[in-house]
Amino acid sequence: MISLILHRVTRVIIHILLIFSIFLLLKGHNEPGGGFIAGLMASVSIVLVYLTYDIETVKRFMPISYPAMIALGLFFATGMGLGGVVLGYPFLTQTFDYFQIPLVGEIELATALIFDIGVFLTVVGATLLIISSIGEGS
């Protein structure tokens, strides 16, 4: 029961979906989005690949171990918090500032983004781990 249309479409939109999820992640501080939503978006796109093709394709497409991804996510989240501790602030203190970058203009950089990347990685890792475990296990 392989649908040719689904195959072709997935090939094209998977990239768009993933880029969109990264967009959601980066803009999350100011517009709807953020680590949780972006993480779910990315997971859903990869689950789409899993449903259209099979688990092997997903593995070729994204050769990462999911538990490692969860660990990396938690590392980002806590690492950011510990960074503050090193500088003498309470655990998980956040800061932000605006920078002028030639050609791009003024952008805002916040440490909260690092934390949000941690959230993103954890959500993607956990969701995909769950789905693939259930799919694989039987």
Partner: protein, 113 residues
């Protein structure tokens, strides 16, 4: 509006209860998902219904926003709810593999041994 929401929450809880009282673990899992959704809806209702704009700050004076705190609470609750549901489903599945049955009463018998 609040009346409608209250009725919806009531139906979610009522149906969830009905499913949780069943013997089949699969139905119990469905019931728990409904419970989670009822809880989320309840929390956002308690934050106030239609108080103002979405909590994206527009930096203009005189705009009222809806409560962002309950939304932050629910956002994580939704994701965690998913995690818990999936864990529960895998438990059901494993119980079936081990005992060829998906009755919740089975867990109790195992406890007794």
């Amino acid at each position: 509006m609040i009346g409608l929401l209250a009725i919806i929450i009531g139906f979610l809880v009522g149906t969830g209860t009905y499913l949780i009282l069943k013997k089949t673990a699969f139905k119990v899992a469905l019931g728990l998902v409904l419970y989670g959704q009822a809880a989320n809806l309840l929390i956002i209702t308690m934050g106030g219904v239609k108080l103002g704009e979405p909590p994206i700050i527009l930096r203009e004076a005189g705009i009222s926003y809806s409560d962002p705190l309950v939304q932050a609470l629910i956002l994580t609750a939704i994701v965690i709810g998913f995690g818990v549901t999936s864990y529960l489903l895998v438990l059901v599945y494993r119980a079936y593999q081990a005992h060829d049955s998906d009755s919740v009463d089975l867990f109790e018998e195992v406890d007794d041994k």
